[in-house]
Amino acid sequence: MAKAELMDYDKALELFEPVLGFEVHVELNTKTKMFSDAPNPAAGGVDQGAPNTMTTPVDLGLPGSLPVVNEEAIKYSISLGLALGCSIAESSRFARKNYFYPDTPKNYQISQFDEPIAYEGNVEVELADGRKFQIPIERAHMEEDAGKLTHVGGATGRIQGADYSLVDYNRAGVPLVEIVTHMIIGADRDAPELAKAYVSAIRDIVVSLGISEAKMERGNLRCDANISLRSRADVAASIAAGEPMPLGTRTETKNVNSLRSVERAIRYEIQRQAAILAKGGTILQETRHWHEDTGVTSAGRPKSDADDYRYFPEPDLLPVVPGAELIEKLRLALPEQPAVRRRRLQAAWSFTDLEFQDVRNSGLLVEIEETVAEGASAQSARKWWTGEIARLANIAGADPASLISPLHVSELIALIEAGDLTDRLARQVLEGVIAGEGAPHEVVESRGLKVVSDDGALIAAIDEALAAQPDVLEKIRDGKVQAAGAVIGAVMKAMKGSADAARVRELVLERATATVAE
């Protein structure tokens, strides 16, 4: 639908109430795949690998091969279930989801159907203005990822019109947990933001658990967004009549690979569906594809016969019965909930909402926390990590945390606060540390960057500057204290930044008053 045909967002919300539902797939970062000992391309620090270099007979569905469950993946899934507030099934089992498509070489995907490992939970989500929503979780089940298809020929690599497809099975068998929500009602005009906040909360949870690399751009975390609209008039009528509230036909938008896209896609679907419904049209129950570049969704496959997956229990795998002891052990090992942790840190550090938002967006919360733990003040830690270090990392195309350790940042800050380094010198020390020249005090030593605290050297430089600008002392005596700036600047330049500007200023002012006393 062309943008001009969309209904205005406010108008759409006036007429209709959105009902949401999400399926979020999380690729676990275990060392090996779900059912085979092939290396997992979604593990941390693992190269994606050239096509078809990370497969075993199990991943290719070769005759005679048998899947065996990765124990670590089970533990990760239970931990995730617990963090989502779910109950963990005493016994759960795998099922075959049958479909014919070359992304799965077996013609079925091993998933969980009637006995998921985790069920009925709740995730608290916070909007930018601080309002909280409870997102009801229906289930979290384990499954395997599919291979990657590249469509060749036709227009722009899309499915339609392709001549043939090439398949890489490296991703086939990567452990996945699919988190399914119940219907989410009541988000109203906050629906797009809530969707983004929900996916963001899931990302925070899996990152805090350390069970996924959680990079959306790499497909470690993928969101399918279900949305339907129902007319407010119909809702009011059914309430008046005491009948169950009607539900509109939903669409499922796939391929939403960034937090921003989640928000935009929901907003677009609300406007698109509202425009159709307002004209008396009907919404097709279908899969839709989100296009990041154009900001629209397009029709995919209609829900039909093909959705008859004929699930049946996977005969090659045995039930998973985790036992209360393991579940309790994993529960005790759960990290602090991300939302709780954020509130605690913001209060402890006395950051404003804006400052804290800045830290969250920079993804450097952990680094700052560790730097503070090493003794630095929170404000200084924030300033250096989100400022100079992030800038240098950006230039280097590297992760800030890979450039310098929190211990060294803390040491650098301590040197500044002790008056041994100015900010300018500290930036040079930082460069040295990043270049591998050692700890900050070693760089200070080897590069000779310490602040000159010897007044004699400073006074000599001040004398020289005053000789060049003889009228400065006069001006200061006349009350124009800002005139000292010119001398301070000249001294700092002469000392190549290794002077403490505040001390230079003191000395210049002392000189002016001393001359009066004479």
Partner: protein, 99 residues
């Protein structure tokens, strides 16, 4: 008696990508129906106190440690493929999408 009608067989054949003639569908509906009816006899002895099972052996929790093992080379992986481009499997374009 059987729930396996010709419509059900035609539907399953379509899902399984198996081309069947109307005669074959007719025959299979009868044969599959007889099999389902026979298996259904189990219901006559299964009582409420017998939990459903998905596996004939009373085992659970057969796991594998998370340790990488050997993988196939791309050549080995592709050796049984009807067609490939040297690194990837080549399949005819299918109108559809990833599930």
């Amino acid at each position: 008696m059987s729930e396996i009608t010709t419509d059900v067989v035609a539907h399953l054949a379509n899902l399984s990508r198996i081309a069947l003639t109307p005669e074959e569908i007719e025959t299979l509906a009868g044969e599959l129906g007889a099999i389902v009816d026979n298996v259904a006899k189990v219901n006559e002895v299964a009582t409420a106190d017998v939990p459903a099972t998905s596996h004939p052996v009373a085992l659970s929790n057969v796991f594998r440690p998370d340790v990488p093992g050997e993988t196939l080379t791309p050549e080995q992986a592709l050796s049984g493929a009807p067609d490939h481009d040297g690194t990837r499997f080549k399949v005819s374009a299918i109108l559809g999408e990833e599930q």
